[in-house]
Subunit: 269 residues, 2 copies
């Protein structure tokens, strides 16, 4: 299946736009798990087992694993392996380098770690992005309008009548010959999501920032999804992972995932 | 020592602006080494042993190591450990994420891998950069004007009379309260390096793109260094690493490093 087919198939089979971000922080694990060998992996597996029928995707933020060195890298790969087939997987690594180096990053994320997709930073332009697009079954979410406060520093700059984030989208769409480019657009950006959706056409959007970051679920769905209510992959991390800090953490995560999925579905056409 | 003191001390003690990029590609190792256990590490150690009196810094591009998973990560750490103290080390990882995640990337690069500095992508703005700046002994080279063809896509965009790369530098300089921000500016950019140097004031510049990428060594020194001929860290990777594909690779690398260092020094005031 192509990048886009994988996303649509996951969204339809589970009737869900929800993506859970496995940004798992060792310091926030339930007390009883912290001393365990492979605590991070056990935690992730429990979350995945409790929620995989409710989500279209899992997103793994590499930062939380790299800080643990080799064992973190192994945890990342084992986590991807434990995700049931049919659920989309995103390596949220925000990579991007000159072409030769980007091709090695693509190999790490797609081949070594086994992700379906990667997040990529746009600043270095076309040859830094294209190595992530060579096989149609893999694709990217290119950073466009991010959910953090620093998005204000450069992404809104006026570049000849068009804000930089829109120019990034319009330019990248001209590279999208295999249909495997999507964009990151924060749920915290409210109605600007509509500008992103208009510029991105039918491309999928990865929308972080609901939950702990305070973005509106309703706007994420209404502005981020396409006319059929699809192609928005809406991510929540902390609000799901740490719904409970106790032994019932995975049931609590399931409860929150169910609540988020159902609320999103209410806003779909 | 602070970030800047480390750079100046390395440049003065070795009378060198040369940085060697350990972008070590398994497929380009000399024939006789490929079957070795830890071939990458052995190669790096031989290069370091042959050149460490001639360079101010080594730059390790994470892409070439991550594609080998855990063993690549270990090779990266062991390579950093084998660099003599007094030589500056740069983790060329081009990271950048929302603040919480960036702080984990900083931990991976500074604490787990042991680098003095990291390269960071600017697109996500201030809170994505600041976690790399918290300790004055560590610092960053922020991508400004990169050496690759894709630099043309966004970095030159006119943002109210100022190209984006210059705005990135000017904005980042307002965050530079600890004096530990430098910038990446490609040697392939010729006289635009002068614009970068003017905007960056006394900040150090990391200048890739000489050697295989064809940038001018003379322009890198004349435009990139400060008035005293310092604060430019000029990187060559492939032209040094693969100066010979045979058993004499480390002597050949030393020969090329010597040639580059001496030529750079001829252009210094």
């Amino acid at each position: 299946m192509t990048f886009l087919e994988k996303i649509l198939s996951a969204q339809r089979s589970r009737n869900s736009l929800l993506c859970i971000g496995l940004d798992t922080d060792m310091n926030k694990l339930p007390e009883h798990m912290r001393a365990m060998n492979d605590a991070l992996l056990s935690f992730n597996k429990a979350i995945i087992e409790a929620t995989s029928d409710l989500v279209c995707a899992y997103k793994i933020n590499a930062a939380f694993y790299e800080c643990a060195g080799e064992s973190g890298w192994r945890t990342m790969r084992e986590t991807v392996k434990s995700i049931p087939s049919g659920v989309f997987t995103i390596g949220d690594a925000k990579r991007g380098d000159i072409g030769n180096s980007s091709s090695y990053y693509a190999r790490a994320l797609y081949d070594d770690l086994g992700f379906d997709a990667a997040t990529v930073a746009p600043y270095m332009g076309r040859d830094s992005v294209e190595p992530f697009l060579t096989s149609p079954e893999h694709g990217i979410f290119l950073l466009a309008l991010t959910s953090n406060p620093g998005a204000r520093d450069f992404q809104y700059l006026d570049t000849g009548g068009v804000p930089l984030y829109r120019r990034v989208i319009e330019t990248a769409m001209t590279w999208n010959t295999k249909g495997n480019i999507g964009f990151v657009a924060g749920a915290t950006r409210g109605s600007e999501l509509q500008t992103v959706r208009n510029a991105a056409g039918d491309a999928p959007l990865l929308i972080p920032g609901v939950g702990a970051q305070g973005g509106s679920l309703e706007e994420a769905v209404r502005f981020g999804a396409d006319a059929r209510g699809e192609r928005a992959v809406i991510n929540a991390s902390r609000s799901v992972l740490y719904a409970s800090a106790d032994k019932d953490f995975s049931e609590a995560a399931r409860g929150e995932a169910l609540r988020l999925r159902d609320e999103m579905n209410r806003y779909r056409p």
